[in-house]
């Protein structure tokens, strides 16, 4: 993964690049002003597709890029107004069905993600046909973002009953002032399960490419031979950049997720912070 910390695209778009609009979340027809989609300014072709939540399977994603068998090109995705499951399913579709010459450019908004604080946490896994709910792993290693609300995270933990917890803590240039606050919101959860301090995973959100590399490595580290016993389960949260980086690493490592049902993490009015570029080995 490469991360460009700029609000506008620093390179020229090619005639083959396409910006994806996912219906119905990002459709023009939505009247609610809070949900009204404000598309980013990208001078490239637009392709509208149906989301997996209304039509199982992102059929057509491969058709969109299939004429472009040689040219390096990019699909642009804006995560605003997409549900977490929908976003994850799009990424897994890109991984499984798109040719190696097609990269995925994800626009990274500024600020923190919205979090639902209700008790509707569900376990799911991103598949190309859409999220598969249930199928809770027998033994799980849980990676919850400590930026989330403490009571709902405690509820999520009780629902999952993980074997071990590796809390995700965002770390930036204000870390010394803020890290302890993030941790002490979850004292009960961490003490109840005896989560070790050495398990804390610090996410350097100023350098998301390294976070992706580290966390993808972490998720991929469980030996495949025992993967039927221990499965990784992620609850991303925090800043949009931290959320998207963890989500992308989790989807590509084919982890489970435990998130509030139908959560829309990024609203329509956020400004751009950077660009995350996922690409396969070309």
């Amino acid at each position: 993964m490469d991360y460009l910390g700029c609000s506008t695209v620093p390179f020229k778009l090619t005639p083959f690049d396409k910006r994806i609009i996912i219906r119905p979340h990002q459709a023009k027809s939505i009247e609610n002003p809070d949900m009204k989609y404000h598309p980013p300014k990208l001078n490239c072709q637009i392709e509208e597709i149906d989301c997996v939540c209304v039509k199982r399977g992102v059929k057509g994603l491969n058709d969109i890029v299939s004429p472009l068998k040689i040219e390096r090109t990019m699909l642009w995705l804006d995560p605003r107004l997409l549900g977490t499951e929908c976003l994850a399913s799009f990424i897994i579709n890109w991984k499984k069905h798109v040719m190696p010459n097609v990269a995925l450019g994800i626009i990274v908004p500024d600020g923190c993600v919205n979090q639902k604080t209700d008790l509707t946490y569900e376990i799911w896994k991103a598949e190309d046909s859409g999220p598969i709910y249930g199928g809770s792993p027998k033994e799980s290693i849980w990676y919850p973002s400590l930026a989330r609300d403490s009571s709902s995270l405690l509820h999520a933990m009780q629902k999952l009953d993980p074997y071990d917890i590796f809390p995700l803590i965002e770390f930036s240039d204000t870390a010394i002032e803020l890290t302890d606050s993030a941790i002490i919101n979850h004292t009960l959860m961490l003490e109840e399960r005896g989560s070790r301090t050495r398990n804390f995973i610090y996410l350097d959100i100023l350098h998301p490419d390294r976070v992706f590399e580290q966390f993808y490595g972490t998720l991929s580290a469980l030996p495949r031979i025992i993967s039927h016993v221990f499965q990784t389960v992620i609850t991303p949260g925090g800043t949009a950049i931290g959320f998207l980086t963890v989500l992308a690493a989790g989807v590509l490592a084919e982890s489970y997720f435990l998130t509030p049902s139908k959560e829309i993490p990024i609203n329509s009015k956020t400004t751009n912070k950077g660009i995350m570029i996922l690409r396969k080995c070309v």
Binding site: D2, D180, I184, E191
Partner: protein, 356 residues
Amino acid sequence: MVDTEKIIPYTVSSFKRQIKLLKEELSDLGVKISDDDAARISFLARRKYDRYDHFFPGETFESRLLKWLGINFEKDERQTAFEIVQGLKFVSAYEMRELSKMAFEKARFGILDVLKDVPTTDWYTYIESRNRKIEEEIMKSVFVAFADDIGFDFFRRYADTHYFFEKENFVEYYKIHKSSLDELPKFNRIFLLDQLSASGTTAIRYSEGKWEGKIPTFREIWKDYIEGTPVYYCPYILSSVSEKNLKARLGQYLQENSKMRIFINPTCRISISSCVTNKDGTGIDENKPVSRLCRKYYDRFKPDEHIQKGGSACYGYGGAGLTLVLQSNCPNDSIYLLWHSFNDWYPLFPRVSHHR
């Protein structure tokens, strides 16, 4: 007692008991705290404070806290003294390693800002060219330890996992014999890695008509090799007081030493502790109860020659006003009530001085 009633250490039951006991013991000393505050202190004590390097084996933060409050302060002062504890910023060894990694990444990203001629034809050309140039440029960097406690071994290994550096890209201490400087690889920039700059006084100060401190000493040793080369001063932790002082002092210093180019590039920032800071966070509020406590006991403190270089240490060396504790040591820039041991004062975090 039956087995099921036993409280096993490091379990939620022991945590709950610890909270209850802490609250009761503090109450006996005249300190009232909420359940949430007791939970917060107990949790941080178990997870962080107990691992302070200079506690005796088996000694805990909580036992020291009770003794620190009980021995040093009058009963009616202990609530105020406890405010210092509530404002503690403790950097664990794990967090310090993260800061070390982040310092390297910041150096890498800093190179991006000065990259020129990256072709923008399309995304692939741009990214590939950018990554290649970063690699080329970072290999033309020299990383110099500006202190002995920056985890330089970890820093170097982390850097080596991402790029193929030569051994000479890393200099283990800035005070190096000039003959060794001939062995340096060709470099375009230097990163000076420091653990903490809390007042800026150790880095640079003007004293008795001349510039002193690490930066002027570095320049004196390295001057024949760094003319025109950008030098980045990279403390892992930079306080707001130091940032202000460094900007002012370096501005003046560079006017007198125009051939040196130095920039401040901190990894993480920290502000004056809320227990002594003024409303806008720019200085010390001398009317705050903790500030008054600092003044009251200052006669028990014995500033040595080094401390005196930073002026009064009533609110920490150089007036930094910090409540910062590093797992490896408590900086003298933190409020002295926390760390000094002169005149039978019992320190909460006993400090080992670098300057003897």
